[in-house]
C-alpha cells in the first residue's frame, strides 16, 4: 500500500479557538480513506490542509506531506504548496454546484486543466468518461447552468479527475441526493479507487462510508477519536398512530411556475391527511415535493385544484383567516433563508405565538425558549442572530417556530438534512408527541428509513405526478412502481452484504431534467 498523503500532528487554530487538534492520518493509493464526524468536527479543515489551504484567519501547524512535497510544516503553509494544487491533490468542494464558473463552457475549463497539468495527453476525455458524462462536443460546449444539479456534481468531479492527481479529496459528495443518484455516485467512486487514485472521502453519510472506505478516521471536536465507524442509531420507532378524521384534503392539485398554468411542475395530486396521522412524500430530487408542500401551505399561488381544511375550502395564505393560518404551518427546506439576518433567532421564533395565539411577549418568549431547549438548542445559542447558528440548530429553530403556533397540520420539508442521529431523534420525539395530540403531519424526506418510521402513509412523486402511494410499511417493503423500487433498492447502500447490481445510467439527454436537482 503506497501512502500518497501523510498528515501528522496537524493543528488548526483561529485566534484562541482550536479547530483541529493534533490530527494524523494517511491516504493510500487505490483506496478510500474516510473522514467522518459530526458537523463542525473539523473534516473540511483537515482535508484542505492537504492542499496547504485554510480559511481566513486560520493558522496551520504540524506536518502534511503530499506525494513528496511538504505542504504544511511547523511554520504553517510552505511555499511549495502552490505547486501541488491540482497536480498532486485535487479537491472537489462541498457544494460543487457553485464551484463551476457560470461564464465558462465546461469543456474550456477541462481542456485548460489538461493543458496545465498533462499537456499532450487526453486526460480530459478519460475524466469525462469516468465521471459518467457523455464526452461529445455538444456537452462540452455547454455552460454550467445548462446542466442539472446531479450532472453539475459530476462535472466538478470530472474537473478534479482531469488533474489526474495522486490524491482526490471529495467533500460531502452525497448531501441532498436522492438514493438513486447517491448510489450511482458510490459506484463511480469505487471505480475510481480501482483506477489507483488515493481518495479522501469526507462525509457524515455513514452508509456511504461503510460502502466505500477501507480506512476510517473519526473526528470529534477537532480530534481523532478512533478508526471504527460509530454504529448507526436505528431509525426512531414509529410513533403512535391513531388516524382520526380527515383534516386536510387536497384533490387534483396542480401547480405551475408561470402564470396561467404555463410550465407546470405538479399534476393532479390527491392527498388526505388525517388528524393524528402522518403522510410522507418521497421522490427524486426536483420531483415537486417542495412545490406540493408550498401548495398546501398556501405559499404557491399558481396552483389549481381543491384544498379543504376540516371540510371547509382553504384559500391561499394571503386569504386565510388568522385561525386557518395558525392551523396550517410549514417548515422551510432552506432554513437559513427563512430567518431575518438582523434579529435574534429566539425573538423570531416567539413571534409566532404572539401573532397567532395572542400570547404576551414574555410568555411567548418563555415558550419559545422551552421548545428550543426541548430540541437541543440552548437559550444562549438561540439568542444569537441566525448567521451564528449552525445549519442543524437553525433547522430545529425553524421547526420550533412552526410548532409554537400549535398547528393542526404541520408540513415538514426535509427538516433533518443537517442533523446527526441524535438531533433527528429529538425532532422525531417532538413530532410524535404532537401527533399524539392529534396534529397531522406531512413529512418530506430522502431518508427512506426515517420516512418509514415517521409516517403511516406515503406518496411517491416523479416529475410532478404521484406514481405510487400506500401505507408506508408496504411501500418500503414491496414497492410496486419501478421508480419506488429503484429508490428503495438504492437506499440499501452500505447496509446489505452484497451491493445491488449496478443500474444503467439513464441516457443523458433524455433524462427528465425536472428529476434532477437544479442547484
Amino acid at each position: 500500500m503506497t501512502i500518497v498523503a501523510q498528515v501528522r500532528r496537524l493543528s488548526a487554530t483561529a485566534g484562541h479557538a482550536v479547530l483541529v487538534d493534533n490530527v494524523s492520518f494517511d491516504v493510500y493509493a487505490g483506496q478510500v480513506t474516510a473522514l467522518v464526524g459530526a458537523s463542525g468536527s473539523g473534516k473540511t479543515t483537515s482535508a484542505l490542509a492537504l492542499l496547504g489551504e485554510c480559511g481566513n484567519g486560520v493558522q496551520l501547524t504540524g506536518e502534511v506531506v503530499v506525494g513528496d512535497t511538504t505542504v504544511v510544516d511547523s511554520n504553517g503553509v510552505t511555499a511549495a504548496a502552490a505547486a501541488v494544487r491540482g497536480r498532486v491533490v485535487a479537491y472537489m468542494p462541498q457544494h460543487p454546484g457553485s464551484a463551476l464558473n457560470p461564464a465558462r463552457r465546461v469543456g474550456a475549463t477541462l481542456k485548460e486543466l489538461e493543458r496545465l497539468h498533462h499537456p499532450g495527453e487526453s486526460v480530459a476525455q478519460e475524466a469525462i468518461r469516468a465521471a459518467q458524462l457523455p464526452g461529445d462536443r455538444d456537452t462540452l460546449r455547454r455552460f454550467p447552468h445548462e446542466f442539472s444539479g446531479g450532472q453539475r456534481q459530476r462535472v466538478a468531479l470530472a474537473q478534479a479527475l482531469t488533474c489526474r492527481p495522486e490524491v482526490l479529496v471529495l467533500d460531502e459528495p452525497s448531501t441532498g441526493l436522492d438514493s438513486v443518484t447517491r448510489l450511482q455516485l458510490a459506484n463511480e467512486l469505487k471505480d475510481l479507487a480501482g483506477q489507483g487514485f488515493g481518495i479522501l472521502l469526507l462525509s457524515h453519510d455513514l452508509d456511504l462510508v461503510r460502502e466505500l472506505a477501507s480506512h476510517i478516521v473519526v473526528l470529534n471536536a477537532g480530534r481523532v477519536i478512533g478508526d471504527v465507524l460509530p454504529l448507526s442509531i436505528d431509525p426512531p420507532k414509529p410513533g403512535p398512530s391513531t388516524p382520526g378524521k380527515p383534516l386536510l384534503q387536497a384533490t387534483k392539485l396542480s401547480a405551475s411556475v408561470r402564470p396561467r398554468g404555463r410550465t407546470p411542475i405538479l399534476y393532479d395530486v390527491d392527498l388526505t391527511v388525517r388528524s393524528g396521522a402522518s403522510v410522507g412524500v418521497v421522490g427524486r430530487s426536483g420531483s415537486g415535493k417542495t412545490t406540493l408542500a408550498r401548495c398546501l401551505a398556501g405559499l404557491h399561488e399558481r396552483s389549481t385544484g381543491n384544498l379543504l381544511l376540516d371540510g371547509a375550502p382553504l384559500p391561499v395564505l394571503r386569504k386565510r383567516t388568522r385561525e386557518q393560518n395558525r392551523r396550517v404551518q410549514y417548515v422551510w427546506q432552506e432554513v437559513r433563508g427563512s430567518f431575518d439576518e438582523r434579529r435574534a433567532v429566539d425573538q423570531q421564533v416567539a413571534r409566532t405565538a404572539q401573532r397567532l395565539r395572542g400570547l404576551a411577549a414574555e410568555q411567548a418568549r418563555a415558550e419559545a425558549v422551552a421548545t428550543l431547549a426541548r430540541l437541543g438548542v440552548s437559550a444562549m445559542t438561540a439568542a444569537r442572530p441566525p448567521s451564528r447558528l449552525s445549519g442543524g440548530e437553525l433547522q430545529r429553530a425553524a421547526l420550533a417556530r412552526a410548532v409554537l403556533a400549535e398547528p393542526d397540520v404541520l408540513i415538514c420539508d426535509e427538516i433533518t438534512t443537517a442533523l446527526d442521529d441524535d438531533g433527528t431523534a429529538l425532532v422525531v420525539d417532538l413530532l410524535n408527541e404532537l401527533k399524539a395530540r392529534g396534529t397531522a403531519l406531512v413529512w418530506i424526506g430522502h431518508d427512506l428509513g426515517l420516512v418509514a418510521s415517521v409516517t403511516d402513509h406515503v406518496l411517491v412523486l416523479d416529475a410532478g405526478r404521484v406514481v405510487e402511494e400506500g401505507p408506508s410499511a408496504r411501500v418500503m417493503t414491496e414497492p410496486r412502481h419501478e421508480l419506488t423500487q429503484r429508490l428503495v433498492r438504492a437506499a440499501r447502500l452500505g447496509r446489505e452484504p452484497e451491493p445491488p447490481p449496478k443500474l444503467p445510467t439513464p441516457p443523458f439527454d433524455t433524462a427528465d431534467p425536472r428529476s434532477e436537482p437544479r442547484r
Binding site: E53, C54, G55, N56, G57, Q59, V77, A79, A82, P259, A297, L299, L317, R318, R322, N325, R326, Q329, Y330, W332, E334, G337, S338, F339, D340, E341, R342, R351, T352, R355, L356, P385, S387, R388, R401, A402, A405
Partner: protein
Amino acid sequence: MSGRKEDALSSPQPTPRGPLVRVFAVLRRIPVAVSVVLVGVPLLVAVLGPLVPHDVKPGMPYAADGVLGTDGLGRDVFGLLLVGGRTALGMAFGAVVLAYLVGGVIGLVAASTRHRWLDELLIRPLDVLLPLPSLLVISVVAVGWRASALAITVAVAMVNVPTVARLVRAAALDAASSPVVEALRMQRESWVTIQLGYVGRAVLGPVAADIGTRITLAVFLVASVNFLGLGLSPTAPDWAVSISRNREGLLLQPWSVLAPALLLVAFTLGFNLLADRLVHRTRRPAEVTA
C-alpha cells in the same frame, strides 16, 4: 489562503512602494473627519450663509475690494458665496429627495403589490421614459421656464425617477420574494411590519449606496445646466452661475471663479468619500452590523 487580504488571488506579495503610491498613501489616511469637514463647510455656508448679514457697497467689476474681490458685476464675491449655496446645493438635494419620494414610492408599491397589472402599470411607463435623454428634458424645461429654480429641480428629479424607481423595486422585490417574507406572512405579521421592518431595511442598503452618487450627479447636473446658461438668471448668486459668468475674468479676479468652484468641489469630494465609506459599511458581512 493568506490571512492578510492584500491580493485575493495569491499568497501575499510585497506591495509596490513607488513614490506615487507613497504620496497617495497619505490620501487614504484621510480620516472621516476630513470628509465631514469637506461636506460640512459648503453645507454650512449654503444653509447659514443667507442668514449672515453682509452688506457691502458695490464696486467695480473684478476689482480687489473686500475679502475675495468683486465679480463681473462689481458685487462682493464673499457676499455672493454666502447666498449662492442655497440654490447650488438645495436644487440638487431637492431633486434627489423628490426623485426618491416619487420613484421610491413607485418602486416600493410596484414591488409589494400582489397585482401584476399594478406593477406593470407603474413600471412600464418608466421603461418607456428611460431612454428619454435627460439633456432634452432639462433643456426643454430650462428654455420653457427660464430661471425657475423649482422647474429645474423638478426636471432633474423627474430625470432620476425611472432609475430610482427601478432600483428600489429591484431591491424590494429581492427582499419581498425572499423566504423571510414568506415566513413572516406565515406568522401573520402585518403588511406594515413586513414592509418597514424587513423590506424597507433591506432596501436601505442599496439606497444608501445609490444616494451618494446620485446627489453628486445631481449637483453636477444642476451646475452644468446653470453653467450652460440654461438655468438660473445670469445675475443669480448661485455658485455654478458665478463660475460660469465669471470665468472670463479668471485672470482679472481669480477668486470670483475659484471660491465657488472650491466650495462645490469640496462638497462633492467630501460626499464621495463619505458615500464610499458608507458603501463599505453596508457591504460588510451581517455579523458585524447585527
